[in-house]
Subunit: 151 residues, 2 copies
Amino acid sequence: MLDPINCKIIKTLQDDARISFAELGKRVHLSAPAVAERVRKLEAAGVIRGYRADIDLDKLGYPIVALVQCRVFRAKEKQFKQLVLDSDEVIECYNVTGEQAFIVKVAAPTMPMLDDVLERFCTLSDTNTMVVLSKPRDRVLPGSFVDAAGR
Amino acid sequence: MLDPINCKIIKTLQDDARISFAELGKRVHLSAPAVAERVRKLEAAGVIRGYRADIDLDKLGYPIVALVQCRVFRAKEKQFKQLVLDSDEVIECYNVTGEQAFIVKVAAPTMPMLDDVLERFCTLSDTNTMVVLSKPRDRVLPGSFVDAAGR
DNA sequence: GCTGAAAACATGGACAG
DNA sequence: CTGTCCATGTTTTCAGC
């Protein structure tokens, strides 16, 4: 399943998910129908979950991103999870090891809007807010996988 | 630029970036050439940065994801940034507010492999490792934007 | 996994609002 | 300036191998 050709297909679609099967086939030295069939199988196996446009949140009017560490109060966990799911500003939420700990990623148009969200969270947890200044590394695949897949 | 039609185009390409312009046109009630032109402009403006396959890291052999909070030692910041860029296992790194603070997202095939990475990081920073147990929320666009774009 | 034909799609130009 | 329509070349897809 994860032979070198499929690895390269994954890496290539990670780079540009809208190239044609003809072009993808060229890059992995396979015909278009052959590569289309491999992609179909990778999708069916759940290795490829889908294809997403990579959007610049800043240009959409959400210049502020914050990571909020939340130590959820015992007996408030259910409410907290609901708040996470109900909050428009929450784009990611990780349940992590450590006592009732969550890391919540929030996008906001303005600082007052970020503050609104934080106020809602601190009624259910002890929060530690870290505003994102920059993102020196941002990718999906580990470097070791990309290297193994070749260029 | 960000009129309701473009918002819906962004939302739709966020859902499935490989649909045809013909299909995308149908969904926003525009002809294929018209929608292709809008997409071209959104790309040129940098709102759409590209298109990526959404890959299941678990199925690729990296079942372990951890968020590592690093308080970087003064005078080691340059070395630390280089280590982040050189480490295959690092998939994301956020520079956040707070004294020399970083949140590093690491993907690893096994626990011993995660441990290896952490050992390298703790020579340059005080680390606090949070292993990700689950991700109850995972999206790119804030809910408010998706709602505004319509369905 | 390859080839080849038919249908769907992308793309460029002419032109209307 | 942004849309539609239409013609042409690509791309996808399916059959047969």
